[in-house]
């Protein structure tokens, strides 16, 4: 929106501006107020000359003016039609059939005496090129006087008047001003004062109005090139492309504020400068849409059509001034819509982003409005144009957001990589576990096969034979000693015990899935008949235990034998009629955890003082082999056998 008006048609534009400022008055007034509060320095600078002028400084607000009939190096005579005009003066060529036209200004001032130091002339705007004469003597050329004329529209002029060329009394400064016949010429009010007073004022203006713009234009160009590079690497992310276009278009446009010789012929350059703001608006629309991940084919087509139509008219030279104004007005309205779009898109991502975009957009609009108002006043007062600060700031805000978004996606990518790595690690660990399980399963399968084979051997071989022998012996016993009534004799007893021992071994090989209760339950199941016959009440006070890793066939056999022996003691010697079996866990899970089996009977007790019998000795030995211990507490009426052992499989096993 940073558009230089007036070169082609300043009056109509001013009209359009008034319409627009009226339409946008309320929000703009607010923004302008904020802006005014924020930039008092700029304002002070702008107002400085009127309040802090040196005693000798005066403003020349009137001049004698005439448009020369031809391009000559000397001032036209009185026949030229001199008349007195107020500065700033804006004028137009009376005819367009010549390439360039001259106008002359005569500025008069009075000096009481020849000053001791040089004086200086200072004016904020001078379009386009020209010469300065003092009292009829050529002092300086303000730029080349040939086509193409240099670009001076916004360049403040500072001309030192050597004291030598001045004299006491009335002095005259003649200014020859040359323009292309298609454009307007103008001269802002001229200030005359001590060189030392006016020089800093001029320098400050040059710094803020040309040097800064040059710097910002270069930065914007760099940003544009960088973003273009980003887009080349990410073709699918069109928003980088559009953003690069915006930045580059602005850096081109900024040339108009500081370049003396733009890279194009003057008329073409004017047309480019006239078209670029609208182009920038369309680019902005494209960027915002892509940034928000949106596609609005109809809106996009209308925007491009609107731009191309206007640009074509401009470049053909067939755009009437009123058409130009309407074209810009439409663009200004569209930029409100674009601002709304981008704030909405920003808010969708985060409040900060939305607020930033809104502020930058509003500021851009406000500063542009400020400049337009400035132009429309036609006073050419020494005030600063500001829009060329807002556009880079705007670009900077958007650039920051894009960079933030870029770094965010980089971080996300890194996180993703970390997550993937973690997943791979997990998978590797899982594979390892699966492999170990597979190995374990294979081993178990092999063991099971072997077990089945041995079982089958025992079943059909020694087991069957022992059983056969037992039944033969029992048969013989019944025939020879019918008085015993089926009670087993000594041989039968030995055979039966052998089979029972074999049974124990077979049971220890059964798949119990590390469940201690299944182990104990199996023994109970085998002894059930005998316990029942002895009239013993077995109380099964077990609690469920988690699978115990230590329950291998080997340790199962040890436990079975220990518990069987404990039962055998109760059955044979104690005369008990009640036995209870209790299980439990103690200690923290891990190496300290111990399982216990407690068998209590109400028999007459074991006399431990006489030294343990062979049975007890065996039980202790087996308990030690389990890495555990056997505790026996015995008194009349209560004997407790407590077996404790670690739940983990010993490392050597």
């Amino acid at each position: 929106m940073n558009r230089r008006p007036g070169i082609l048609h300043e009056v109509d534009l001013a009209r359009a501006l008034c319409a627009w400022t009226r339409a946008c008055a309320a929000p703009l007034a607010l923004v302008l107020a904020i802006f005014a509060a924020c930039l008092p320095a700029a304002r002070a600078a702008g107002q400085a000359p009127s309040t802090a002028s040196a005693p000798a400084t005066q403003t020349i607000g009137q001049a004698e003016f005439c448009i020369a009939p031809d391009l000559a190096d000397t001032m036209p005579d009185a026949s030229c039609g001199w008349k007195t005009v107020e500065l700033a003066k804006v004028w137009h060529a009376p005819r367009r059939d010549v390439p360039m036209v001259d106008a002359w200004f005569k500025l008069r001032f009075h000096l009481d005496a020849v000053p001791g130091q040089s004086l200086a002339l200072y004016t904020v705007a001078f379009n386009r090129s020209g010469r300065v004469f003092v009292n009829g003597n050529l002092l300086r050329e303000l730029g080349a006087m040939r086509d193409p004329l240099p670009l001076n529209w916004n360049r403040a002029q500072f001309i030192v008047l050597p004291a030598l060329m001045l004299h006491a009394g009335d002095n005259e400064i003649e200014i020859q001003q040359r323009i292309h016949s298609y454009e307007g010429g103008w001269l802002a009010p001229v200030r005359l004062g001590g060189e030392d007073e006016l020089r800093p004022i001029w320098q400050r203006r040059v710094f803020w109005q040309s040097d800064t713009v040059r710097l910002l234009g270069s930065c914007t160009f760099a940003i544009g090139v960088f973003m273009l590079g980003v887009w080349l690497g990410r073709r699918h992310d069109a928003m980088y492309f559009w953003f690069a276009c915006i930045a580059l278009s602005w850096s081109v446009q900024s040339l108009d504020s500081y370049a003396e010789m733009p890279p194009l012929p003057p008329l073409l350059w004017e047309r480019v400068v006239d078209s670029v703001p609208v182009l920038r608006g369309v680019l902005m629309l494209m960027f915002v849409l892509r940034y928000g991940g949106m596609r609005r084919p109809v809106v996009e087509r209308i925007a491009w059509g609107y731009f191309l139509l206007g640009a074509a008219a401009i470049f053909c030279g067939s755009m009437p001034p009123v058409g130009m104004d309407l074209w810009f007005l439409g663009f200004l309205l569209a930029s409100v819509y674009i601002l709304y779009l981008q704030v909405r898109v920003g808010l969708r991502r985060s409040r900060v982003e939305g607020v930033l975009l809104l502020s930058a957009g509003m500021l851009d609009m406000a500063l542009s409005a400020h400049d337009l108002v400035l132009f429309s006043e036609h006073t050419w007062a020494d005030r600063f144009y500001l829009a060329h600060f807002s556009a880079p700031l705007y670009l900077f805000v958007i650039g920051t957001i894009l960079v933030r978004r870029f770094t965010e996606s980089l971080s996300a990518h890194e996180n993703l990589a970390a997550v993937l790595e973690q997943r791979i690690d997990d998978k590797a660990a899982e594979l390892q576990r699966n492999y170990e399980q597979l190995v374990e399963a294979r081993r178990n399968e092999a063991l099971a096969l072997e077990r089945t084979r041995i079982m089958s051997e025992m079943h059909d071989g020694i087991g069957s034979q022992l059983t056969m022998a037992l039944s033969l012996v029992r048969q013989l016993d019944r025939e020879r000693n019918p008085e015993r009534g089926g009670e087993d004799g000594r041989v039968a007893t030995v055979l039966r015990e052998s089979i029972e021992d074999l049974q124990l071994i077979i049971d220890s090989l059964e798949p119990v899935e590390n469940d201690l209760l299944t182990v104990l339950g199996t023994l109970r199941y085998r002894l059930q008949d005998r316990l029942g016959k002895s009239g013993i009440d077995l109380q099964w006070n077990v609690v469920d235990l988690p699978p115990l890793p230590m329950l291998t066939p080997h340790s199962v056999l040890s436990i079975l034998r220990i518990v069987q022996e404990a039962f055998a003691n109760c059955l044979k010697h104690s005369g008990a009629d009640r036995i209870s079996v209790t299980t439990g866990l103690q200690g923290a899970p891990g190496v300290d955890e111990k399982a216990h089996i407690v068998i209590v009977d109400n028999g007459r007790g074991i006399d431990l003082s006489r030294g343990a019998g062979r049975g007890l000795e065996n039980m202790r030995r087996r308990a030690a082999a389990l890495g555990g211990q056997l505790k026996i507490l015995s008194q009349a009426g209560r004997t407790e056998v407590r077996l404790e052992f670690p739940t983990l499989r010993p490392a050597s096993a």
């Binding site: 048969q475 059964e510 798949p511 119990v512 299944t518 109970r524």
Partner: protein, 217 residues
């Protein structure tokens, strides 16, 4: 249990002394009567075909055949009869294979003299014996083979049956389980027999499925 009609027992075992001892035990018990006693698979098939028995005691190792086949034959032709497999150790491998073939009970050879009468009566009343290891294996079998136990008739266990098996695997007796679940001991034993039947049906289905998959059917 109607005591007036004694249970007819078919004995299949190649061990003469054992057969003799079983016959003696049957003779001692009024509730049982010997249907036939045979020492090989061929004679056994004839006896099975004749079908004049209620309970068959079958030894797995026969000189001319496999006891499992005989059990399957009986389960097929005489679904109302009970088959008890006679084993030396009552180990899981033998017993489970027999149950899958259709047996509903098993006996330890060495204590058969003492337990035959009681076991046969229990069996005819609808109850089957079961050890903790076999209960655990059954739980395992049903879990492994049927991930969706919702459908009961295809071999899945009911919640109650699962409960019973779990208690048995933990060493509780049928009486204790009956107390805990507020059932009669007989009902608990009946559950076991049902489970055995389910396993047999399940195994047959699986065999058909397997055969179909292998292109045999």
């Amino acid at each position: 249990m109607p005591l007036q009609t004694p249970t007819r027992i078919l004995v299949v075992d190649d061990d003469d002394a054992f057969r003799e001892s079983v016959c003696a035990a049957i003779a001692r018990d009024d509730a049982m009567v010997l249907a036939a006693q045979v020492g090989n698979a061929e004679s056994a098939r004839e006896a099975i075909a004749a079908g004049q028995f209620d309970v068959a005691l079958v030894d797995l190792g026969l000189p001319d055949g496999n006891g499992i086949d005989l059990i399957r034959e009986i389960a097929r032709t005489r679904p109302d009869a009970d088959v008890m497999v006679v084993t030396v150790f009552g180990d899981e491998a033998h017993v489970l294979a027999s149950i899958e073939a259709g047996a509903t009970g098993y006996l330890l050879k060495r204590s058969l003299n003492d337990t035959l009468g009681a076991t046969v009566r229990e069996l005819r009343a609808g109850g089957s014996p079961i050890s903790p290891v076999i209960a655990r294996q059954l739980l395992h079998r049903f879990k492994k083979d049927s991930p969706t136990p919702a459908v009961v008739d295809d071999g899945g266990l009911s919640e109650r049956e699962r409960e019973v098996l779990l208690f048995i695997a933990k060493g509780f007796t049928v009486g204790e389980i009956a107390n805990m679940l507020h059932l009669s001991a007989h009902t608990v034993a009946t559950h076991v027999k049902h489970i055995y039947r389910k396993l047999a049906v399940h195994s047959r289905t699986e065999a058909v499925f397997e055969a179909g998959r292998m292109g045999l059917l």
